[in-house]
């Protein structure tokens, strides 16, 4: 088991899949000669050439649609959209073409395209470069959405996504590419559905995904000092989401806090709450709570930016309040 950085894990998955299958290609802005903004495709241009590692024009909807069309006839494209803020422009092709073609063709066509894109609030990137879009993507029938929280998941999810016949959107995070973690030396495939228990506990479940798993884990450390054993559930799959995993953990702890980096409306938090209501309402000892971003465009000023996004302290406070402390 070797330790590697998040970007190295993503790069390794690309490299292995491209070496295995000549129909696997990758495309996006600056991913070839420049090696990718976050180095996720570093060195692949020299190894696989310009026909398979494609520097695209800045035409997100166009090149995403091109990848989808190629996937209809056996190509397995991995598209990198440099930032999820730019993925808004590709939503027409992702939603109208990729997510629906299998259904509306009565099962004749498949769109096995992978689209990876980092979102999240990083360092003072301002309103138009700080979006968190997972809540938009996860609401679209026909599009799988996964979001890795560590290098092992980043590697294993991309490996499975490339081979899966459904379109898969992989929501990464701008701040996480240098995160270190252990990745198996041998090939490793993550399931594209389900959840993982990142920390076991019995008193309260903290649901997180992507970067908010780390906030939940930090909060759990603090809560342990207050005598509260928090369980942290990592929702690495957002569509379909793991209803059974949510039910099981809440049925054990009887309390739930959802930690999300995005604005509260129509998000992961509201979805998980709805599932708790539907699956295990009578297991609850307290009303579930969301710890979310403020419902604002992200400001440039650093102090305000920090205030817009939840922190581990916010999670701790929410849990202590739930326990009347």
């Amino acid at each position: 088991m070797a330790e590697m950085m998040f970007w190295e894990a993503v790069r390794r998955a690309h490299d292995e899949e491209m070496a295995r299958d000549p129909m696997v290609i990758c495309m996006g802005e600056d991913i070839g000669v420049a090696g990718g903004t976050y180095k996720a495709t570093k060195g692949l241009y020299d190894k696989y050439g310009p026909e398979r590692v494609i520097d695209t024009p800045i035409s997100e909807n166009g090149f995403t649609g091109l990848a989808i069309g190629a996937s209809f006839i056996g190509v397995r494209p991995i598209v990198e959209i440099m930032s999820v803020n730019f993925a808004w422009l590709a939503m027409d092709q992702l939603f109208n073409s990729a997510a629906k073609v299998h259904y509306m063709s009565g099962g004749q066509l498949r769109a096995p395209v992978v689209v990876r894109s980092p979102g999240g609030t990083a360092h003072q990137l301002g309103a138009q470069h700080s979006a968190r879009m997972e809540k938009v993507f996860m609401g679209i029938a026909g599009l799988r959405v996964v979001t890795p929280s560590n290098p092992r998941q980043a590697y294993g999810l991309l490996k499975s996504a490339v081979r899966c016949d459904d379109p898969v959107f992989i929501n990464e995070h701008e701040l996480m590419y240098n995160l270190k973690g252990e990745v198996p030396d041998e090939e490793y495939f993550m399931p594209l559905e389900g959840s993982e228990i990142a920390r076991e506990g019995r008193d309260v479940t903290l649901f997180g995904y992507n970067i908010s798993v780390h906030w939940a884990l930090q909060a759990a450390d603090v809560l342990a000092k207050h005598g509260i054993e928090a369980e942290v559930v990592d929702l690495f799959a957002l569509n379909p989401i793991d209803r059974e995993g949510i039910r099981q953990s809440v049925s054990k702890t009887h309390r739930a806090v959802i930690v999300e980096e995005a604005e509260p409306p129509v998000g992961v938090g509201s979805e998980v709450m709805a599932i708790i209501n539907e699956e295990c309402f009578f297991e609850l000892d307290a009303p579930p709570v969301r710890v979310s971003a403020k419902n604002v465009p992200i400001p440039y000023n650093h102090k305000l930016e920090k205030a817009a996004i939840p922190s581990p302290d916010d999670v701790v406070r929410a849990v202590l309040k739930m326990f009347g402390k």
């Binding site: 000549p22 166009g62 509306m104 063709s105 495939f189 399931p191």
Partner: protein, 338 residues
């Protein structure tokens, strides 16, 4: 026939194409009736008046080998690509025997076995999909091409520019056919588009292009043979603009009140079916009675075979509602076969 044409069709081909085009006309007119009878729901976009475009181009291509993709005005492109007209009509009737089992509808006819890659309902949506299919062809190394039929108004979408740029940049084997019927829904082209001649717009991407009469199938075929030869020989994309006219409104919900009757009459005098019919009659290969007999046979075939099949077919079962959202039993969803 215009003696300047380089690529010509035989008398047998003319006779077959007349039958196919007349069939297309009667098929679409029968769809109109079925829509009024509420047998067909949703939106319905008819191809009447534009028959020479799809027939001339696909006649010059290799259906079943070349990939064809188009917009929501797709019934006739599907049929000319080899899709069974019974399955097309059954799809319009929302039956399980339809091309897409009743899940697609008029705007989403698919026939992947015939490499008819579908009708898409977002204006301009197929531009990048066609470029992507062409990218796949290039990677696989075959001599197929992709042919993308879209209307003139699609050229005002960003996908037009994004896709033509990439197709030219990467020399992709794609033929873009612009069926210029002069109207984007209800807005005349000169009121929506700064450059009315669509073939001129692609010069910005160094893509060779040509504008020809889309009502005369001999002219369409001649231009299409050259265009397809260009694309198939590996020289990159081509853009063929066909000047045509739709007899009916944009869709069935369109009152068609925005066009002048004089303009409709003028185009009606250049009917693609009648042009070919008269050409055969003038050549002594057919009489008016032969034509009437043919028409009668077609109407009977549509009624007795096609409509009956669509009427008598069952609707999809409710269990199908959630069947094709995601691919079933994909092992990689569980992280692999192991």
């Amino acid at each position: 026939m215009n003696s300047s044409l380089k690529n010509t069709l035989s008398v047998e081909s003319h006779k077959r194409l007349l039958r196919e085009m007349l069939f297309a006309r009667r098929f679409e007119e029968r769809c109109y009736e079925a829509y009024v009878e509420r047998k067909i729901g949703g939106f319905l976009h008819l191809y009447c008046g534009e028959e020479a475009c799809a027939h001339g181009v696909i006649e010059a291509a290799r259906p079943g080998h070349d990939y064809i993709i188009t917009s929501y005005r797709d019934h006739i492109h599907a049929i000319k690509s080899g899709v069974d007209p019974k399955a097309v009509m059954a799809e319009l009737f929302a039956k399980v025997t339809g091309t897409c089992k009743g899940l697609g509808g008029s705007m989403h006819i698919f026939g992947v076995d015939h490499r008819f890659m579908g009708g898409y309902a977002l204006v301009g949506g197929p531009f990048p999909l066609a470029a992507g299919i062409a990218k796949g062809i290039k990677m696989k190394g075959g001599d197929e091409i992709c042919i993308c039929f879209l209307g003139d108004a699609a050229n005002n979408q960003g996908t037009f520019h994004e896709s033509l740029n990439m197709a030219a940049l990467w020399e992709l084997p794609v033929l873009y056919v612009c069926e210029n019927n002069l109207y984007g829904i209800g807005t005349r082209i000169d009121r929506s588009t700064a450059v009315v001649d669509q073939y001129k717009r692609v010069s910005a991407y160094n893509i060779p292009s040509r504008q020809v009469d889309g009502q005369d199938i001999d002219v369409v075929y001649d231009a299409a043979v050259d265009a397809i030869e260009h694309v198939r020989s590996g020289k990159g994309p081509y853009f063929l603009e066909l000047m045509t006219y739709r007899y009916r409104g944009h869709s069935m919900s369109d009152s068609n009140a925005y066009r002048e009757k004089a303009e409709e009459r003028r185009w009606g005098e250049r009917d693609p079916v009648i042009i070919l019919r008269d050409r055969l009659i003038e050549a002594g290969e057919m009489t008016l009675d032969d034509y009437k007999k043919l028409d009668h046979e077609i109407l009977e075939q549509i009624e007795d075979e096609i409509i009956r099949f669509a009427e008598e077919s069952p609707e999809p079962p409710l269990e199908m509602l959630e069947k094709y959202v995601l691919v079933e039993n994909d092992p990689w969803v569980r992280g692999g076969a192991g």
